[in-house]
């Protein structure tokens, strides 16, 4: 009896140990990459060709083929984190890596914030790669014209966004993100992020026909600034949809019925887990105004301090590219949560 129970326990331990290791080992590249990019905020250089993080084999190959890709990934990461910090400065979740205490990582489960980070990172990557193509930094951007085997003089090589999207998908290995619910959800969040860049594309046209008339007109799509895509992403963050949890551990394949339902909700960020209450961590945080403080401080109240702050003012344009300002001293009220 005892031995049998011991054996059962042993077997159980080994199996679960294997299972755990198995789960750890097969964690999709998408999850690994995004977590690595979001968590590491230092300028550490890792071994391998991708430098910015510990890359998978396929990613290392991609970085080797395209030598300026690591630089672009790094810029994309910095851009994403900076934009995130700026936008969530006065929110309960201030783009931190964990909720309340360091053991509660935002990547532990799929929270609203996790979904947002996936969208943010993929948006920033797409943006960065499209820019890299346009500046000539990336040499392997392809012309996604309709004719495959014609020379470039007949192809349209203008749309860098399409390529940016494709390379981002390849780099994050979206294909192997998993067929279970988590995989599907993360894929959707990544797509939302990339599309938020697509929605910021502006069409510009030029007429160049007979005598400069519009008998011939050429249009192209121009990449928008990243911070306006950020505004869109924040809207997505607020309108994210919570999904019902479908058996997490067995990694059951998604039934066609669920897939159909998911297709309907393609336009929203999706997550699985409710965000814990973050009121504990907002103590001592700076808030914007009285209205913002009411929500941020969770009703605990706030202190008002008057401070003399020197700001830039009376700015003059010295040239195209830089502003020269005087320094003015102003009295500013600062609010801080109790």
């Amino acid at each position: 009896m005892l031995t049998s129970s011991v054996i059962t326990v042993l077997v159980y331990c080994t199996v679960s140990g294997f299972a755990l290791r198995n789960v750890e080992g097969t964690k999709p590249v998408l999850q690994k990459t995004i977590e690595a990019l979001f968590i590491d905020r230092t300028e550490t250089i890792y071994p391998g060709t991708c430098k910015v993080f510990v890359s998978s084999m396929k990613q290392a190959k991609m970085c080797k083929k395209e030598p300026s890709l690591p630089k672009i990934i790094q810029n994309a990461r910095n851009q994403a984190i900076k934009a995130c910090n700026d936008t969530f400065q006065f929110d309960r979740w201030n783009c931190s890596l964990y909720f309340n205490k360091p053991s509660k990582s935002i990547f532990k489960k799929i929270y609203r914030e996790t979904a947002f980070v996936y969208a943010l990172m993929s948006a920033s990557m797409t943006h960065g790669i499209s820019r890299g193509c346009a500046s000539g930094e990336l040499a392997r951007c392809s012309c996604l014209g309709r004719s495959k085997n014609s020379s470039w003089e007949t192809k349209d090589c203008g749309d860098d966004f399409k390529y940016g999207k494709r390379l981002t998908k390849n780099f994050f290995d979206i294909k192997h993100a998993g067929t279970d619910q988590i995989g599907e959800i993360l894929k959707q969040d990544v797509n939302i992020g990339m599309d938020s860049i697509g929605e910021q594309l502006k069409e510009v046209c030029k007429c160049h026909g007979f005598s400069g008339s519009c008998t011939t007109k050429t249009c192209w799509r121009r990449l928008g600034p990243f911070n306006s895509a950020m505004g869109l992403l924040k809207k997505h963050y607020h309108h994210a949809v919570k999904k019902k949890f479908v058996n997490f551990t067995t990694k059951r394949a998604i039934t066609p019925k669920v897939r159909r339902k998911m297709q309907k909700e393609r336009k929203n960020l999706v997550y699985l887990q409710k965000t814990p209450n973050l009121c504990v961590s907002t103590k001592g945080r700076v808030c914007k105004d009285r209205h913002n403080c009411a929500t941020l401080c969770c009703g605990r109240g706030y202190s008002i301090a008057k401070k003399l702050v020197s700001t830039k003012c009376k700015c003059k344009m010295v040239d195209c590219c830089a502003v020269k300002c005087d320094t003015c001293v102003e009295e500013i009220e600062t609010f801080r949560c109790k």
Binding site: E203, K206, S211, K316
Partner: protein, 544 residues
């Protein structure tokens, strides 16, 4: 008495000819839609911000580029603070055309014909320093070229210029750090794409206090380079190569037919011949020369050739309507001088468009960065000429409609006298009226199809543009279709309006003895043209 081929051709032959020509037309359309790629391609290039460390900034042998050996030192403008070691004059925006693709260093092909540059700016919003809605920007633009096999730094100066442009920016949400919505500015137009690589260096000089002072914080510059699609050029040139000998051949045949006659050619025949010549000029595939020689005037020349063709087509229509007015004022041969009032609208329109074109593309031969729209005077001048051309086109069409309406009125009026004639003659004349109407209809259909196609292209553009599933290249199909249509139209005119060899049916004289007098009357007018036997009929019936 002979008539034109059109009058003497049997209905069956006419039907065969027309269906053959229609088949050709459909083929032209399909070639454009299925074989040809889109007419033009664009590539948007993000400027690399380079730092110029040299003391003297007007050295035209010093070039800044971002790829290859000797690439420039880059500056990040979002972080850069101008200090004593980085002055605003040290900043150069470099654009290396074309961009590398698929790991290859691609170069421009001469099949791509021309290059048009459009400049766009990313201006960041700062509450402390707002951009005025309409400001002027001064740019120092330098263009260099290089060919395959040259070393990476062997850029040679192509042209340089100091230009002013209107910067039109606005912003919806005024949030710090957001970008203004700035309109695109035309930058340059190269009529020939002779070299393999181009390099554009743009600086923003600050020599006077006001120069570039109100343009805000520029973060990025984008240049979109538009060039004709090489594949499209190939299809287009092949079409021209096919059409050119056909039109020349039919023109020779037409002229020989006329000279076989005992009389001198009449006005309508001369006009038709002139129209054929204009089409020949348009069809002449001289673009082949650009593959070997550097011909920057090709853009201007193609404008002039098209203008010449339109002018002769419009004049022809006027004369065509006028010659079938059915009122013969004199028995002398009509000359173009009779139509000087009618044709002055065409002439005025063409001359004003020509002047405008010379002012814009003509000056661009000397300075590719030139734009007439920048200076106040230039804008007014350009607008004057365009409005003048527009007014004369409007007047022309009003006048033409009036004339065509009058012809149709005359026809229906004169038709009342038809029952008084013998049956054979009546049928014959009715046939002529029918065929004239048919040709009028053909003209109208051609013109309507051109206009509808153009409007459809403009309207549908937005919906079709980014759809990968549609294989049909609508714009290319429109171009080749319209081009083929007018070629075929003129081809048909030349065939159908050539004098016929056939005599009038012999039985006419024998069977209709009661109408012998009419026949005599007909033959009394030997100086009258055979082509206008229709008009002679009208004159005759007027005498009746």
């Amino acid at each position: 008495m002979t008539g034109t081929v059109l009058e003497n051709l049997s209905g069956r032959k006419l039907a065969i000819l027309i269906s053959f020509l229609l088949a050709c037309l459909v083929m032209c359309f399909l070639i454009g839609g299925l074989v040809a790629p889109m007419p033009a391609n664009s590539q948007t290039i993000l400027g690399t911000v380079c730092r110029d460390r040299s003391k003297v900034k007007n050295d035209t042998t010093k070039w800044f580029y971002n790829r290859g050996i000797g690439k420039c030192e880059t500056v990040d403008l979002t972080e850069a603070q101008l200090s004593h070691d980085l002055s605003e004059t040290d900043i150069v925006f470099a654009f290396q055309l074309p961009l590398p693709r698929e790991g290859m260093k691609i170069d421009y092909s001469r099949w791509q014909q021309n290059l048009i540059g459009v400049l766009q700016m990313d201006v960041r919003y700062h509450s402390s320093m707002e951009v005025t809605r309409q400001s002027t920007i001064t740019i120092d633009a330098r263009l260099a070229y290089k060919n395959k096999g040259d070393p990476d730094d062997a850029w040679k100066l192509y042209t340089l210029s100091r230009e002013k442009r209107h910067l039109d920016c606005d912003i919806n949400v005024k949030i710090e750090g957001y970008l203004y919505n700035c309109s695109a500015m035309p930058l340059f137009e190269l009529g020939s794409l002779y070299h393999d690589y181009y390099l554009l260096n743009i600086r923003l000089p600050v020599e006077t206090k006001d120069m570039n002072a109100h343009i805000g914080h520029i973060e990025d510059m984008w240049v979109t380079a538009i060039n004709q699609n090489g594949g499209f050029t190939k299809v287009w040139l092949s079409l021209k190569t096919v059409f050119f000998p056909c039109i020349v051949g039919i023109l020779v045949w037409f002229w020989r037919r006329i000279h076989l006659l005992q009389r001198k050619p009449v006005l309508l025949e001369e006009m038709l011949f002139a129209l054929g010549i204009a089409l020949c000029v348009l069809d002449m595939p001289i673009e082949y020369l650009t593959l070997v020689f550097d011909l920057p005037f090709m853009l201007l020349l193609s404008d002039i050739r098209q203008g010449f063709f339109y002018a002769s087509l419009f004049s022809f229509w006027l004369v065509f309507a006028g010659e079938h007015m059915l009122i013969q004022e004199s028995k002398d041969k009509n000359s173009v001088r009779k139509y000087w009032r009618h044709l002055s609208a065409v002439l005025l329109g063409c001359v004003s468009l020509f002047v405008f074109d010379m002012c814009e593309r003509g000056i661009q031969l000397r300075n590719p960065f030139y734009s007439i729209w920048v200076s106040e005077l230039g804008t007014n001048l350009a607008l004057t000429f365009i409005i003048l051309a527009g007014i004369s086109t409007g007047m022309y069409f009003l006048f033409l409609t009036y004339m065509v309406w009058k012809v149709f009125m005359n026809i229906s009026h004169k038709r009342q006298s038809l029952p008084a004639m013998c049956s054979v003659r009546r049928l014959h004349y009715e046939g002529i009226v029918y065929r004239f109407k048919f040709l009028m209809l053909a003209t109208l259909i051609c013109a309507a199809m051109t206009v509808i196609g153009f409007i459809l292209g403009q309207v549908a553009e937005g919906q079709w543009k980014w759809d990968d599933n549609i294989e049909l290249q609508y714009t290319s199909a429109f171009f080749t279709g319209v081009y083929g249509m007018w070629n075929i139209y003129i081809f048909a005119l030349l065939v159908l309006y050539a004098p016929s060899h056939k005599k009038w049916p012999v039985n006419e004289n024998t069977s209709d003895t009661q109408n012998l007098s009419e026949e005599i009357e007909f033959n009394h007018m030997p100086e009258k043209s055979e082509i206008s036997s229709f008009t002679s009929f009208i004159t005759k019936s007027a005498i009746d």
